[in-house]
């Protein structure tokens, strides 16, 4: 029996609830990092100093995106968005840039591939 795998990603503007959704390729990746470093002190002591606050991001690539949807996503740069994916994951954050390219295999006329990296922000639902 053929298996249908839904790999859609939904992007919603939190302020209005408006959304853009599209299929995504398999390059979805989360990253988490602390702003820390190991510093060298007198006589060579190695000591880690870290600024409080974990930084996280979620990168994904939307495929088969129309020009109108790209315009919408451009308008939402730097604004709080909610991102959900087919695994049931949900993130809040912002993105500051879009990477728009033409697909190697054209699925539909005049559609594009759009790369987005959402950087997580602290957000409490209902606040």
């Amino acid at each position: 029996m053929p298996t249908l795998t839904l790999t859609a990603v939904w992007v919603n503007l939190v302020a209005s609830g408006a959304g853009v959704s599209a299929q995504s390729d398999d390059s979805r990746a989360r990253e988490y990092a602390d702003a820390g470093e190991v510093r060298t002190y007198g006589e060579g002591r190695q000591r880690a100093v870290t600024a409080e606050g974990e930084r996280g991001s979620f990168g994904f690539t939307l495929v088969d995106v129309t020009e109108d949807e790209i315009t919408t996503l451009r308008d939402w740069k730097s604004q709080l968005v909610q991102v959900r994916d087919h695994r049931g994951r949900k993130f809040y954050g912002v993105y500051f840039s879009l990477s728009v390219s033409e697909p190697r295999v054209l699925l539909a006329a005049n559609t594009y591939t759009v790369g987005v990296t959402v950087q997580f922000t602290t957000y409490t639902e209902g606040s």
Binding site: D34, G36, Y41, G42, R45, R47, A48, T50, A51, E52
Partner: protein, 374 residues
């Protein structure tokens, strides 16, 4: 330096506080800020969620010792609000908080192209409460207790304060006055009253409380913390800069009491005091091969206060010959004229120093210090 385990760290021992700051192989630096009630200094709201970072600086020789430069992403009561930034340190198990003083926030600067709104705010030591001009001539009559006169001003300026009453019985032998032509500030008057009784200039502490206490020569104060390059406990960076300045550093000091109400010429032990540095350090008479004399007059309550004032002058002069600019790991205990011992072979071994200025980045960058060698 802040007391190691004063509130809000009173649940810990001094050794535990030191271990977190010095010994822990990893630390996580957090930042926070709260608004405080100007009358009580009690916290009214924690605004840490809107604190974007910044620095806290203290120059113990500055007129207003404390400054902060903060990023605040909200509207505030800029005209009269007072804030208290703080730092937290954690080793992953234990988290301790260190208050970093109280500040007015009168100069918000906002970039109109930035959204959401974020203000860069130059914040000034709560001591600024005393830096307002008196606006008229001010005088304190003879026979008034120095500390009572100081306390009257602190109450009038709505300060939260603590006064060491060691010199409570000292009274003005003659009136003191500050003419309006000199445009005196309350700070000028307060420090003018404290000098004659051998007290140090007033300063505000980590909670914002004004402190009035006797001056103790740095060389006579116990070291408050030892910083070592020992590999197991070093928080000293690797780039100390040392500057030596021998220009006109005195090694003999003579002080006269200029408000002597007896109509006789001052003599040693009665209105005159002399001290010299014969052999202590590079600026001594022995080392330089010559005597360089500094003569000053003082408004002081008695001979003991004259001696204290001259010794303070001598101590200050003797400390300016060697300055060290250094960096350390974040240590939010630092405060006002900290007395430290630094053990560093690059500096010639154990060195007794006075921390005269420091700057602490709330994001955990190594903090900068200006030290003078005692």
């Amino acid at each position: 330096m802040q007391q190691f385990n004063a509130p809000p760290r009173d649940a810990y021992t001094a050794a535990q506080v030191r271990a977190l700051i010095i010994d822990s192989p990893t630390i996580v630096v957090g930042k926070g800020c709260e608004t405080i009630d100007p009358d009580t200094l009690l916290a009214t709201e924690d605004i840490s969620d809107d604190l974007g970072g910044g620095t806290v600086r203290r120059g113990s020789y500055d007129t207003l010792h404390g400054q902060a430069h903060l990023l605040i992403a909200r509207e505030m009561n800029w005209g009269s609000g007072i804030i208290r930034p703080y730092m937290t340190l954690s080793d992953g198990t234990t988290t301790m908080r260190f208050n970093l003083g109280a500040y007015f926030i009168p100069t918000p600067r906002r970039s109109l192209g930035q959204d959401p709104l974020t203000y860069e705010v130059d914040c000034y030591d709560i001591l600024a409460r005393l830096d307002d001009p008196v606006g008229s001539s001010y005088s304190v009559p003879a026979a008034t207790a120095y500390l009572a006169a100081v306390e009257e001003i602190l109450i009038g300026q709505n300060c939260v304060y603590t006064i060491d009453q060691t010199a409570a019985s000292s009274v003005l032998p003659s009136p003191m006055s500050w003419p309006v032509a000199d445009n005196p500030t309350w700070l000028t008057v307060v420090n003018g009253l404290l000098g004659p009784i051998g007290y140090q200039g007033i300063w505000s502490d980590w909670d914002g409380v004004m402190r009035v206490q006797p001056y103790v020569t740095p060389r006579d104060r116990a070291s408050e913390m030892t910083l070592s390059t020992n590999i197991t406990e070093s928080i000293l960076a690797q780039d100390p800069q040392v500057t030596r300045d021998f220009d006109k550093v005195p090694n003999r000091w003579i002080g006269y009491r200029q408000n002597n109400i007896d109509d006789v010429a001052p003599v040693d032990g009665a209105g005159r005091y002399e001290t010299a540095n014969d052999s202590d350090g590079d600026t001594s008479i022995d080392s330089r091969g010559r005597t360089i004399t500094r003569v000053e007059s003082f408004d002081v309550a008695d001979q003991a206060a004259l001696i204290a004032a001259v010794e303070a002058m001598a101590a200050a002069d003797m400390t300016i010959s060697t300055k060290i600019e250094h960096h350390t790991a974040p240590n939010p205990l630092h405060w006002h004229f900290d007395r430290l011992t630094v053990v560093d072979s690059r500096l010639g071994g154990a060195v007794e120093i006075l921390d005269t200025a420091w700057e602490l980045d709330l994001d955990g960058t190594d903090m900068a210090h200006e030290w003078t060698v005692l």
